[in-house]
């Protein structure tokens, strides 16, 4: 099973990298870009657990290590 995890800064937390990319895109003429957030993407290959158990385990991984809940939020998908 594979977990695809996205970690981004929470709403309201200043994202200096996102701001820089936003400005650069606007400078390139992509005026339609209203906001940019830069985050991390992780892929985990998992053995064993499936379904709810895997979801529970991945959530715990995110809470304990992969995201810092003070500043970051996360979301993930599980693929067989």
């Amino acid at each position: 099973m594979r977990a695809k995890i996205h970690v981004t800064l929470k709403n309201g937390v200043l994202d200096p990298q996102g701001k820089a990319v936003h400005h650069a895109l606007n400078d390139l003429g992509f005026a339609e870009v209203r906001d940019v957030s830069v985050g991390k993407y992780l892929e985990l290959e998992l053995d064993g657990a499936s379904g709810q158990e895997a979801e529970h385990r991945v959530r715990e991984m995110c809470e304990r290590l992969l995201a810092n809940p003070v500043i970051e939020s996360y979301r993930f998908e599980l693929e067989p």
Partner: protein, 228 residues
């Protein structure tokens, strides 16, 4: 005073800290390897600056699962003095021993320069010899020093007098211009509620040897001297 300096893979200010504690302050100082699990007999533990585990994932995030960190939490719980400098501060926030988080600098750049910080409280073992309002000139050297905490946490820090150092101008005015990295409330250093765990981004160990220009960092070590 018996001191320990923790060495993580990627620590690079460990020798500076060791030098100041042992040779300048004259304290009994030993190395503490990150795989050690024993801190018996120590009074002060320093988590030095550097790039533990290459700053992978987030600065300090992997180091806080080193074997030694369980012992550090126990040591802090027993009232032992813990000083986290720069990466050490990041490790302390990641491990939950101090509130908040240290984010990428507002400028996105690594900043290495002397800054002025104002001592907000003398009511900690780390600043007991300082006058409140005293301005110290101490270098910073970081890319991730932008202190963030939510409004409730900031209020709690203020109400409990836990903000120890704020970035300021040379006259001690806490202004936006004097904020090098975007930290909330210009915060450069804080203590925990029990006041025995301090984290700060500036490097006092780089301004504490009389052979080098700038000795204001010595004020923090002199404060600890009163306990020695």
């Amino acid at each position: 005073m018996k001191c320990g300096v923790v060495v993580f893979p990627g620590s690079n200010c460990d020798h500076d800290c060791y030098h100041i504690l042992k040779h300048i302050m004259g304290w009994d100082t030993r190395w503490v390897w990150h795989k050690d699990t024993e801190l018996a007999g120590l009074d002060l533990l320093v988590l030095p600056g550097g790039f533990s585990y290459g700053d992978y994932l987030r600065a300090g995030s992997i180091a806080c699962f080193s074997p030694i960190m369980k012992a550090v939490a126990d040591f802090a719980g027993r009232g032992g003095l813990v000083l986290g400098i720069c990466n050490g501060f990041q490790v302390l926030t990641e491990s939950g021993l101090l509130p908040g988080a240290l984010m990428r600098n507002r400028s996105r750049s690594f900043i290495c320069k002397f800054v002025d910080v104002r001592v907000e409280t003398g009511g900690t073992p780390f600043t007991a010899a300082c006058d409140p309002g005293e301005v110290l000139s101490i270098p910073i050297a970081h890319a991730d020093g932008n202190y963030f905490a939510d409004e409730d946490t900031l209020k709690r820090l203020q109400d409990n007098d836990q903000i120890v150092l704020k970035y300021c101008d040379a006259s001690g005015n806490v202004t936006e211009d004097a904020n090098p990295n975007g930290s909330r409330l210009n915060i450069a250093g804080i203590v925990n509620e029990k006041r025995n765990v301090m984290g700060l981004m500036p490097h006092p160990e780089r301004a504490a040897d009389p052979a080098l220009p700038g000795a204001d960092g010595r004020r923090l070590f002199d404060s600890l001297l009163a306990l020695a």
